[in-house]
Symmetry: C2
Subunit: 381 residues, 2 copies
């Protein structure tokens, strides 16, 4: 008989990152997954495919029970409305309860956040407060939170350690920063109950190697790799604008820390495993980048610790897709910093996290997803 | 005929500060008041008394219409529930609409905020986001916000200018800091619509000279003056503990900037008048203590700019009440800073704000309120 899985609620599991996290949770053999998603930026199809990939990975002769444990229970709902979260926890009270939460759902477009800040604060802050309140009500005290390297703003040093000052420069970044502060205050208020880990993502890219799940941006992709992948299937024929090639970097273009989405997602399974380990919280005030405290709160960078320039990425995607990119150097974009890379030492030491997949795998998997699903999920269901 | 008053929604007008703000709005002749309060920390009686004081101040022979304009329409409701705010704006659509909002309601106990942070974030942040969302929906873009000197934490210089870094040291302080950031982001998103002024209060004390309204704390008062006033009517016979007399201050005890509540409240009428004046926003990024921006957002200190030590306050209350206080020097309290005083220059220059009432008036009015209402509002209704 299969060992019983713990139930984890993943908010926003239908999204790009959430779907890969859900998959890794299922593949670990330790967790079953329930989610709440309003499909604001995703499709239910993603959840079905996650289950399918996980079931296909079962050993031959797996029982129906084993297969069933890989189904994702999905609530269509909005986490900025408290009662819609409450319903889930209530339903699960009778089923052994929810063990922990991975809070992934959020709005995430930096530019848009400055235009419609109220919507961003509602989806990213009110929602986080709602979630904490419901967790508290049902005595669920284990939390992993999707934070972002944007909390660092333009950091004084690179690679960036977790102790770097938090000075986000966009409204989106502030929603992530405030969520961390709120979660930390909650942990400080009851160190005997709450445990939380924030994971500060650098640049997630790529897809599961099956090519069945991946990033499916609406409109023009905001991130480089999906944009390059879509160009290779004929979209955006005008080519790639490169914002500045006169930065103080090896080839003059901006350098970022791209991390394979499967590495990133696996980091969440490691974080779930680390939550109960008291020793990681010892020095956390320092590491979290804001005042020390008595609570069990900790923040970790998830990055590869290696910088890739825009030109490196174009080259690598050219190899993966065979497509010859048209590029054009244009002026620097205000707000861009030359280099943003993670110091991944803390996550490596305490979570045993290592981003092992390389740039080639990232581009191959990105291209595999793109070429299998040239129109994303929408027309594939 | 009386000139038509603009309708101002004051959240939490039944509370200590809100009731005095409501009174000053009414006395100004320019505003009528509607409020929403859940009476978590206040009594409806306060609102009736505000109206009574304002009506008593009308010239002889004032019309019934003039008197009626001084009634405060009160919604019993909770601003952390969006629909309860929405209802008010909806009702007023037919009555010429709401012109602006003074957002006063909040939980405010520093110590408690660290114990029940979720409640503080819900009442002070979710509520602020709700309010902004409803204002936006009904196109009400004028806002004055009750901030606090706690946003400065332990400041690098004293008196504290508005440009001092914001580094709150309590969960309560973070709710005020975050509310300011959120309001500022909203102003930045639409400079042609939104205008907001945050008022950072130092230590409000005293009461309206009528002795009809004042601070009515539940349990042991957290602030010095109400505590001294209650001691003078026989409560807390154990006397006053003074936390440290070896600070680097004139008499060794901590120095704070006490401001008469009527001065503070009048500052809000000045802020309402300043909102439409474009020129005050010119240099506001700087003055707000966090990055510059294009929006019409501004923060002002409301303080007297003069420090009073604990011993100064004990002396002054002794004179006002005739009560001989028993004091005891005990050790310093962690977290206390020796001196916190406002640099009031900016509010003086741009709002024409001046805290003109002196310590003697403050203590006299505090004592007048206390001796008229030894049990506060509860047993007086
Ligand atoms: N993609 C990145 O580059 C990146 C980098 C750093 C951090 N993050 C963070 O990772 C998380 C996931 O990002 P992603 O790239 O997968 O985005 P995504 O848009 O693909 O996924 C977010 C999911 O949450 C859902 N959602 C949003 N608001 C919701 C609400 N109010 N109620 C219910 N569901 C809601 C969306 O429908 C979507 O399925 C976010 O918190 C984001 O801020 C992303
Ligand atoms: N008193 C001080 O020393 C001081 C100093 C700096 C800033 N402030 C700020 O000034 C404001 C008013 O403080 P106060 O001293 O008058 O406090 P108070 O408790 O006397 O008044 C607050 C009022 O808001 C109401 N309220 C609270 N939460 C509510 C909710 N969710 N929905 C509806 N009503 C709600 C309360 O019932 C009360 O009537 C607060 O924002 C506080 O943070 C106070």
């Amino acid at each position: 008989m299969a060992s019983p899985r713990k139930t984890v609620l993943i908010t926003g599991a239908a999204g790009y990152i959430g779907s890969h996290i859900a998959l890794c949770c299922l593949l670990s053999g330790k967790y079953s997954v329930v989610t709440i998603d309003n499909f604001h930026n995703s499709f239910p199809t993603a959840l079905e495919r996650v289950t399918k990939i996980a079931q296909d990975a079962l050993p031959a002769g797996a029982s129906d029970e084993d297969k069933k444990a890989l189904e994702i229970k999905c609530y269509r709902g909005d986490i900025s409305i408290k009662s819609e979260i409450d319903q889930i926890f209530k339903d699960y009270e009778g089923k052994g309860g929810i063990w922990g939460v991975i809070h992934v759902a959020a709005l995430k477009a930096v530019g848009e956040s400055g235009e419609i800040p109220i919507k961003y604060y509602e989806n990213n802050i009110t929602a986080t407060i709602n979630l904490l309140d419901v967790m508290d009500k049902y005595k669920v005290y284990n939390l992993v939170y999707s934070s972002s390297a944007t909390v660092y703003g333009a950091p004084p040093q690179c690679p960036i350690p977790e102790s770097s000052p938090l000075q986000p420069e966009s409204c989106y970044g502030r929603t992530k920063f405030m969520s961390e502060l709120i979660i930390k205050d909650v942990c400080d208020s009851a160190p005997d109950k709450w445990r939380a880990i924030s994971l500060r993502y650098f640049n997630p890219a790529g897809a599961h190697p099956s090519g069945q799940i991946g990033e499916d941006p609406r409109g023009r992709p905001g991130n480089l790799l999906p944009l390059l992948a879509q160009m290779a299937v004929g979209k955006f024929p005008e080519g790639l604008k490169i914002f500045g090639n006169d930065y103080d970097t090896p080839d003059g273009t901006c350098v970022r820390d791209y991390i394979h989405i499967m590495d990133l997602a696996e980091g969440h399974v490691l974080a779930l495993a680390a939550l109960p380990r008291d020793e990681i919280y010892a020095a956390q005030g320092q590491a979290a980048g804001f005042g020390s405290s008595g609570g069990k709160y900790k923040a970790y960078n998830l990055g590869k610790g290696k910088g890739m320039s825009v030109l490196n990425m174009v080259d690598a995607m050219q190899k993966a897709s065979g497509f010859k990119y048209k590029t054009e150097i244009v002026g620097r974009r205000t707000g861009d910093v030359p280099e943003l890379t993670a110091d991944p030492a803390l996550a490596e030491k305490e979570l045993e996290f290592k981003a092992k997949r390389d740039l080639e795998a990232m581009c191959r998997d990105q291209w595999n997803w793109q070429s299998n699903n040239p129109k994303g999920y929408e027309n594939q269901a």
